[in-house]
Each structure stands twice: as structure tokens, then as C-alpha cells.
Symmetry: C2
Subunit: 205 residues, 2 copies
């Protein structure tokens, strides 16, 4: 059982790397199983198909971000600080797996119905951010906003930055916030600033 789990994990790790580098079509079953030190039938045995392995890669990726955001949501800190840490956590995850956002969105754009296990992991992710916003409304730190819409504002900016950074660098030029090496830090600070100001409780007149 342990040995089987670890083959499974190695296959997911190898597939994440190879799908990112070569695309789904370009990453052959042979290359993935070789990189995972598994036999040629291991993908079929553990996942049923290469397509199901891809889904597992995506579920794993979303669940890693979800776990980070849940951990942040559970911190004994004001909602403002936890929301700022959400942005940091998403940027940290993207720095560790730079190809994953593209892999995920490519897949999304080719599938209208998303399998239940991926939906469940996305709920965890959105739910963690929405919970922090609800906490902030309850504590008076934030004004009353729709927590799901507010979570959308956080996530959309963080994800879009990592998706289009290379293109945006070409559009905005070498001096812009996308091309500079410290661009991710600049943008994480900017996004945090935008959302904290946007959700801040109204000051008494």
C-alpha cells in the first residue's frame, strides 16, 4: 500500500513537470513512467488513463493552494492580515510551481463540465478566502460585501498575473511591473493594497 502510494505520488510529480514543460500531448506515457521510475503500465494501473492522471495533477495543484489558504484562514490574526497572507500564499505556490496556473487554465478552457473532485477542491480554496472576508465583516474590519464576489477579486488578480506575466511584460515594456525581476513582489503588494482598501469598513463621517 505504501509502495503503491509512493508510485502514485511519483507519477503525479513527474506528470506535473512534463505536462508543464511539453504540454499534455507532448508528454508521453513512456516519458512520464520513466521519470517516475515506474513501469509502462503504471499510469493505467493507478489512474486508468493519461487523461485521468492529468486530472489528478490539477486536483493536487488546487488542493495544495487550498490547504495553504485554509491554514492562513485558521491563523489567530485579524482578517486584514490573513487576507494579505492569502495573496502571499498564492504567489508563493505559483513561485514553487510556475507552470501550474497555465496547465490549470488551459485545461479549464477546454472543458465545460468540471469533474466533482476538482470542483470540491476549488470550493475549499474559494471558501477559505470567503471565510476570512466574512470574519472581517463580523469583526467590523470590512464593510458588508458579498464574500464570494470579494474572494473573486482576490483570486482573479493573483491568478491572472501569473497567467499573463510574460505577455504583459511584452505589452508594458522592460521597465514595467511585469518584466522586472521583483515584479511579483510589486504586484503582490499592489493587489493586497487594492483589496484591503476596497473592503475596508467605511470610516465614520
Amino acid at each position: 500500500m505504501n509502495h503503491s502510494d509512493s508510485t502514485r505520488d511519483r507519477l503525479i510529480a513527474a506528470a506535473t513537470k512534463l505536462f508543464s514543460e511539453k504540454g499534455f500531448q507532448g508528454a508521453s506515457v513512456r516519458a512520464i513512467t520513466r521519470a517516475a521510475h515506474a513501469n509502462l503500465g503504471a499510469i493505467t494501473y493507478h489512474f486508468g488513463s493519461k487523461e485521468r492522471l492529468r486530472l489528478e495533477v490539477l486536483v493536487r495543484h488546487v488542493s495544495l493552494i487550498g490547504a495553504r489558504l485554509q491554514a492562513v484562514a485558521d491563523l489567530p490574526l485579524p482578517a486584514r492580515n490573513r487576507l494579505a497572507q492569502c495573496v502571499q500564499a498564492i504567489f508563493a505556490q505559483a513561485a514553487e510551481q510556475p507552470a501550474a496556473p497555465r496547465l490549470f487554465v488551459r485545461w479549464l478552457l477546454h472543458h465545460d463540465r468540471v469533474p466533482a473532485e476538482l470542483i470540491a477542491q476549488q470550493r475549499v480554496l474559494v471558501g477559505a478566502v470567503a471565510r476570512i472576508i466574512q470574519d472581517g465583516i463580523a469583526s467590523g474590519e470590512f464593510r458588508t460585501v458579498d464574500p464570494v464576489c470579494a474572494a473573486f477579486s482576490v483570486l482573479s488578480q493573483c491568478i491572472w498575473f501569473h497567467l499573463i506575466r510574460a505577455v504583459a511584460a511584452q505589452v508594458t515594456g522592460a521597465g514595467g511591473p511585469f518584466a522586472r525581476p521583483e515584479g511579483a513582489t510589486v504586484m503582490a503588494t499592489h493587489i493586497t493594497d487594492v483589496i484591503l482598501r476596497a473592503f475596508a469598513a467605511e470610516r465614520a463621517a
Copy 2:
């Protein structure tokens, strides 16, 4: 010349529709030329290849949004109002061409280098929003922010909503802002609210 231009336009219109419905691979040269009432060689004649036709479709789409945003930027209105109208303009364009954002991002995710004509059109688009923000800073409506980062905050939320609306509806359920028919209006209002509060000039203490 006129006749030639109009064949070109009909090919772009037919390709936009068929690429959206069937994907790039699925939309055959035969189907596109037939829908455009053109002969089978028309794509090669006018564009050189189906791949170049796809690029023209994308350039056309981005230039339509860019033209709308430039028109908004030129309005004799306070920056706040113009920024709100930018959000409306992007949502209006997406309502007219619902498949275009996906088409565009699918393409982006498969190309690291973006051709100069597409970069130029994206510059128009980003530039129009950034100009409004600069105007708002100059007039004292907005605090000092990086206009390009601020434009990113506007565009990322608007585009991401249209990209992932179908998936988000599955994640957030039937009562959520993505599934409801009026969801686009709810979200446009939310995004406008977020950006205007985020960029608002600090009140005097």
C-alpha cells in the same frame, strides 16, 4: 479593393464564430470559406494561412475592446465615471462576443512570444485605462498609484470573470453570483466598486 476588404471581413467574422464554436482545429478551412461565401483559396490569398487568420481574429477582438476603451477615455467626464464605463465597455464587448475571451486566452497560453500587431493592440487597451487613472491622479480624484498596476486590477477581474464564469457557477452553486442570469451585472457593479474604492484619494484626516 472594396470587394477584397469585404471578403477579408467576412472571413474574419466566419472564423471568429467557427473557432469559438469548434475550436481552431475543429473549424476547417472549407467550413470557414463556405460560411464567408468565399472560395476555398480565399484564406491563403488574404491571410497566407489559417494560423494567420486566427491571429487576425484575435487582433480584431482586442482592437474592438481597445477602440471602446479609447472612446471612453476621451469622454469629457471625471475619471471615476470613465473608469466605471470601462468596466461596462468590457462587459458589453464580452456580451456581444461571448466566446472571444476564451479564444484569446487559449491562444495566449500556447504562445510565449506574441506577434507585434497583437502587442500593439493590447498596448492601446491597457493605455486607455492607464490614461484614465493618470487623469484621476492629476485631478485629485485618485491617490497616487502605478497606472499600469491599476489598469491590471481593472482588466484582470473583468477578463477572468468571463473566462471562468461557467466553472465558477459550478463551484459557487446556483444561488451564487456566477450562475444567476444577472450575474454579469452584479459582478460589473462589484468590480467597479472595488476599483473606485481602491484608487480613491485619501480623505483628509
